[in-house]
């Protein structure tokens, strides 16, 4: 009896986590895949419609817009975030006074919720009395309606997102920089290498795994962008800032078309899986090298 209890115990110890994972992640994913082939709404059970939802997606102009907006957001956000993060981390890695203060100040926006960040920028960019327009006026540029302008809304959202993510990139890069053995730099100094050369030939290659991790993480976060868009622009003007997740939420919880929303969610899932596979491939290649 005692032996049997001992065999059972490990399963009991993982049970709470495994059960919740199974009910709230595993089943919902499989179910969402199933729903994407139906015309299920919250109000009616729905029927199997085969690939009809995916065919509609191919013709859905707003979803196309959302897809490409998400891609633009991704491309224009990730690179600047990482580059600024690396530069700031390099500066912080110099032995200067007050590193903790600078680090804290630069990371601070990362502690705020996306809602608080959005509210702050809603005021900063307010067309009538916002501070950004006051600054812009000093430069002789007329006031802009930043978040309601077809050409300006997306760039504004991207800049805000970069601003909130720089701290994260900086902290990860700083940890990477501190992990580079100092004898590499000493050896290079003996060979007469200057600061910039050391940066290009030692720092950048040694940071490759960290850079890759940041790239993957920020990519996945970009694909999932929702909160700031929802609050700042609601996807407008004329869908110029709407994203994949915006469309999923709108389709599911405003139009109650769960089947169609599931099909859109599957697109997001596939994007994420592709990135994860690339991550895994490159990661295993690296360990073989």
């Amino acid at each position: 009896m005692a032996i049997r209890w001992n065999r059972l115990l490990p399963y009991l110890m993982i049970f709470p986590n495994v059960a919740i994972y199974f009910v709230f992640i595993f089943i919902p994913v499989l179910w969402a895949i199933y729903l994407s082939f139906t015309n299920y709404t919250i109000l009616s059970p729905g029927q199997w419609v085969g690939l009809a939802n995916f065919e509609s997606l191919l013709k859905d102009g707003i979803f196309h817009k959302a897809f490409w907006n998400t891609m633009i957001f991704w491309v224009l956000k990730v690179m600047p975030t990482m580059m600024i993060g690396l530069i700031v981390a390099t500066l912080l890695n110099a032995k200067i006074r007050g590193v903790a203060w600078f680090r804290g100040a630069i990371y601070l926006p990362g502690v705020l919720s996306s809602v608080a960040v959005s509210m702050a920028w809603l005021w900063l960019l307010d067309p009538r009395s916002g501070p950004v327009n006051a600054i812009v006026k000093l430069l002789g540029i007329p006031p802009q309606n930043w978040l309601q302008d077809l050409a300006l809304a997306m760039p504004a959202v991207i800049v805000i997102s970069i601003w909130t993510n720089i701290g994260f990139a900086m902290i990860i890069y700083l940890a990477g920089l501190q992990g580079i053995p100092s004898h590499l730099y000493e050896a290079a100094s003996i060979d007469g290498a200057t600061g910039l050369k050391k940066f290009i030939y030692i720092t950048v290659p040694m940071l490759k795994p960290i850079t890759f991790f940041l790239f993957i993480t920020l990519t996945i976060r970009s694909f999932q962008v929702f909160d700031i868009v929802y609050i700042l622009t609601g996807g407008g003007p004329l869908n110029s800032t709407t994203t994949i997740v915006n469309q999923i939420v709108k389709t599911a919880f405003e139009e109650y078309k769960m089947g169609y929303a599931s099909a859109q969610a599957i697109v997001l899932l596939l994007l994420t899986i592709i990135v994860t596979i690339v991550n895994y491939r490159v990661g295993s290649k690296r360990t073989m090298d």
């Binding site: 709230f24 994913v29 919250i42 804290g104 100040a105 509210m119 993957i216």
Partner: protein, 288 residues
């Protein structure tokens, strides 16, 4: 020597400029929260308020049910963080130190969750939560009412697991030397006893990391409360900020005041535990 000093001051200057760009919006948020209505409307106004209106904070907290919002956020955060810490450390330890059948298969299945965006699972989670039988007016088949939607259950229970937490916990417990288990088993301790008596007391750094990651996630979460709740009584603080946003004309001084109040707890925690916050962020990068 002279050159070196100037290089360092250049670096400090550079960092100071970046810091100003990062902090200025937050300072403006604070200053705006203290301005009067007429001063606010004046675009060319100064950065600092002329009259410091601290009563804005009282007015802001009287717009909407802020007592309720804070109570909800605190309850959800405390239970989600507490529960997930217990469950994640327990299963992380079991996966790391105990061998049992199907261990690796179950663990890999759990890791697959790292790939799943919450925006994919939220659709069917919503349907499931709505259909919990005998709750929220539902009959035994889960029809007729709203189930767990618009309740604490919807905001807490799905947060109690988490692939990243399990992964980090397992990683942590793998780091202990093998003799520790042998010593414990000679002692006659069962696996649960040795978790409770030996490993848990040594889990401070792990619990700090997981606790910070989960607290920030749950306290700042907007997406799940937005979808899962609809009544005033169940709003969390992040939804509460929408009270000002929804109005025809936004009172920005009050909105900024409420945003400051909502952000303050984590900012203070960050100020005191900066090292732990940084460590928790770095730990997520070890998985690569």
């Amino acid at each position: 020597m002279k050159l070196r000093i100037s290089a360092n001051s250049l670096i400090s200057a550079g960092l100071a400029i970046v810091s100003i760009f990062m902090v200025a919006p937050l300072l403006i948020m604070i200053f705006t929260s203290l301005k009067g209505d007429t001063e606010l409307a004046n675009a060319a106004g100064s950065l600092l308020p002329k009259n410091w209106k601290f009563e804005n904070y009282i007015l802001a907290m009287q717009t909407g049910q802020w007592g309720t919002y804070f109570k909800n956020s605190i309850i959800v955060t405390v239970f989600a963080v507490g529960g997930s810490l217990i469950f994640n450390s327990l299963s992380g330890y079991t996966f790391a130190r105990v061998s049992f059948k199907f261990r690796n298969i179950i663990f890999v299945a759990l890791l697959l969750g790292l790939m799943v965006p919450p925006q994919v699972t939220i659709l069917t989670q919503f349907i499931m939560l709505k259909s919990v039988p005998l709750f929220g007016g539902n009959d035994i088949f889960g029809h007729g009412g709203q189930g767990w939607l618009d309740s604490y259950y919807a905001l807490i229970i799905p947060e109690l697991s988490g692939s990243l937490g399990i992964f980090l916990a397992r990683q942590y417990y793998l780091g202990f030397p093998k003799d520790m288990d042998e010593a414990a088993s000679i002692d006659g301790s069962g696996i649960f006893r040795s978790f409770w008596k030996i490993y848990l007391p040594l889990s401070g750094p792990l619990l700090a990391t997981l606790g910070i990651l989960k607290t920030v996630h749950v306290w700042n979460d907007f997406f799940h409360p937005l979808v899962y709740t609809n009544s005033e009584a169940m709003r969390t603080i992040q939804l509460g900020l929408q009270v000002f946003h929804g109005q025809y004309e936004i009172k920005f001084n009050l909105l900024m005041a409420a945003s400051v109040v909502v952000s303050l707890p984590l900012c203070i925690a960050f100020f005191f535990f900066q090292r732990h916050f940084v460590q928790s962020l770095i730990s997520t990068s070890v998985k690569g």
